[in-house]
Amino acid sequence: MRLVYFAWVRERIGVPAEEVEPPATVATVDALVDWLAVRSPGHAAAFADRTRLRAAVDQQFVGLDAAIAGAREVALFPPVTGG
């Protein structure tokens, strides 16, 4: 599974993307974030405030309770601020 990060999520983690293989018990975006948060202090900092975290699964915006089974790409990022 490919993970992509944007804005301060990317900055805190320190890389724009990484490949991971979470166990099958990691079924939702929320569970994925829990699983990622212990990988490094940067991951922990990026995911500390879950209310400011948004996600997309295979480039579709989803809630953090969305399933990730079969996903090829999960994106994690702050609320958007374009326009």
């Binding site: 944007f6 804005a7 480039q59 990022f77 702050p78 958007v80 326009g83």
Partner: protein, 145 residues
């Protein structure tokens, strides 16, 4: 006709307007980097692929809802300085109310539905822009209609 472009290139108003002028009523919105709040540079990050898909979905929704003849969304990414254009939205329809409403819809929804992130730099201080509560309220009013 739908036109979507996400690019670091400056926005050429005459060219963008000409592209949209497909009918009797043409409305546009242009967002510029504010020059009055001490920002020296604005950097725009986006999610390549997902951005274009989100903007295309918005344009398609506007075309269907207001029977538009043309809808265009052009968004810059990368570094910009005050006074430069960040975003251009243009709509064309047979009647002015449709063009004007669809233009407002597109810029309101773009603010909440498209994966862009702004970082402002003032001197040595660079910070990511926080989402405004008002942006969600503005986007939400189009759900009722």
């Amino acid at each position: 006709m739908i036109h979507i472009r996400v690019s670091p290139a400056p926005i050429d108003i005459a060219a963008e307007q000409a592209r949209v002028e497909q009918d009797g009523a043409v409305a546009t919105f242009t967002g510029l980097v504010r020059a009055d709040d001490g920002v020296e540079e604005l950097a725009l990050e986006h999610y390549p692929g997902a951005t274009e898909a989100a903007l295309t979905r918005l344009a398609e929704e506007a075309c269907a809802r207001w029977s538009l003849t043309a809808a265009s969304i052009v968004h810059r990414v990368g570094a910009m300085t005050p006074g430069e254009r960040i975003v251009f939205v243009g709509t064309a329809a047979a009647h002015r109310a449709a063009a004007l409403e669809a233009c407002a819809f597109l810029i309101d929804r773009l603010k909440t539905d498209a994966p862009f992130w702004k970082r402002e730099r003032r001197g040595d201080d660079a910070r990511w822009v926080e989402q405004r509560d008002g942006d969600h309220a503005a986007a939400a009013r189009w759900k009722a209609g």
